[in-house]
Amino acid sequence: MMRQIVWKEWRENRWKYGALWLVFNLPILALSVLLGVSRAARTPFADLSNQTFMKYLPLPVFESAAIVTVFLFATGFLGLTTFLPEVEDKSVFFLFEQPLARWRYALAKIANGAGHVALAALAASLLAPAAVYGLMLLGGKVTVAASGAAFGVVMAAALRAGLWSALVSIAAFAGCALIGSVVPRWWLATIATFVFIICLMNRVLSSSRFLGAADFFDLFASAPQGSYNVSGNFGTANWLTVSGNLPLPTDFVHWHLLPTLTPVALLCLFAAAIAWVFQRKELR
């Protein structure tokens, strides 16, 4: 069953999935193009020492911040168009005429879409710092031996931020999918999606304190404080602190179980609501 649903979803939504991956990676793509065409943009990277590397490397961790703010609209659009087209043209009833429980179909679609969204968010969050590090290595003045450990810290912070942004994204995806399955007109659903995303974004921005961050940007940029000591010929970065312990996945103090579970709970709630809505849908 799942294989058929995945095939159908892929055929129906492959361009939208591609667009989502493209949007999520726009900042790093834009940076790469900028570095390629602009001498001025390359200036900070011209004499890369490990110290300047420390200064600039955490910047791409902001990719995750973009994913849970402005790019949430792209995720919302994907969520909205997961059910809306087939509800509008009633082709969902073709699926309802198969020996397949409606709730299973709804949940399979949500699982498939949420999987794509989570993967895209996580991959973009990790790709950005990795790509910037790659550009710096290509510059020839940063060595893996001296900067590898610090890169590991930054990637760990990116992983943490990426997982969290993936969770927020799938909650947004499921919420917008619910809107698409309930609201019968595309323009009304679009307005509702916009309002929902604004509200969610506001909530995300105001909830960073739950994650132990002083402010929203600190949430993404700072690695947990601890005993980690970056050895080498560079000092502590003056703009961001990247020294500390790697945030291990099993460390719930660092992973903040409750706020992490909130998007998961939202996803489950929205998915259950969609399943209920599908169970009640009638062919008029």
Partner: protein, 243 residues
Amino acid sequence: MNAIETHALTRVFGKTRAVDAASLAVPAGTVFGLLGANGAGKSTLLKLLTGHLRPTNGTISVLGEAVSGPRPALWERMGYVAQSRYLPGWMTGIECLRFAGALHRGWDGGKAEGLARRLDFPLNARIRDLSRGHYVRLQIALAMGHNPELILLDEPTSGLDPVGRHELLGILVEEIGRRGCTVVISSHLVEDIERLADTVAIMEAGRIVACGPVDTVKSEAANGAATVSLEQAFFTYINRRQS
């Protein structure tokens, strides 16, 4: 044994009683015709039988199972040809058949694709590009591909040219003769029903105004006079009801 039984089945949309206290029994292995003008409630009744609509009142039993909403397991035993067009337009005919086939345990792929080929159906054309005639042919192949015990057809010949109608009805006759499945066919084309049906119900404004074997319905309409055709009987019942 009855394949379908309804008792006082009612469905209300706002102030309209689309189906009003409909009670009927369709014996297994027979062809049951639903006759009525446009808007008489035939499509609503069929959607209630499939579980696509929920009854406001009354009970439904299909193939021995109570139906008051979606019953996914019944779709293994039932095929449905809808009047409205809602197959996914981006799929090709063959993709649609294989998709449905993968979800049905009893799917007979050879039969479905053979049926489509026999009906001169363009299997590789996108559904959105299909004419009404080809679309109905695909629906028929989908409805019959898993050898269902019950086939529900909602105005299948509507919009078809005479050749298409002849082919479609021929396939139905063949299918019924070969497997003895139960068929419920709704139409406002009386001659189609008269050609196929053993039993008939006439609907008017949501109510069943006559129901029984075709000959009985005709003789009751004749009311002791000479034998009438099913079409004459249909108008007799409608006129009686309206007066």
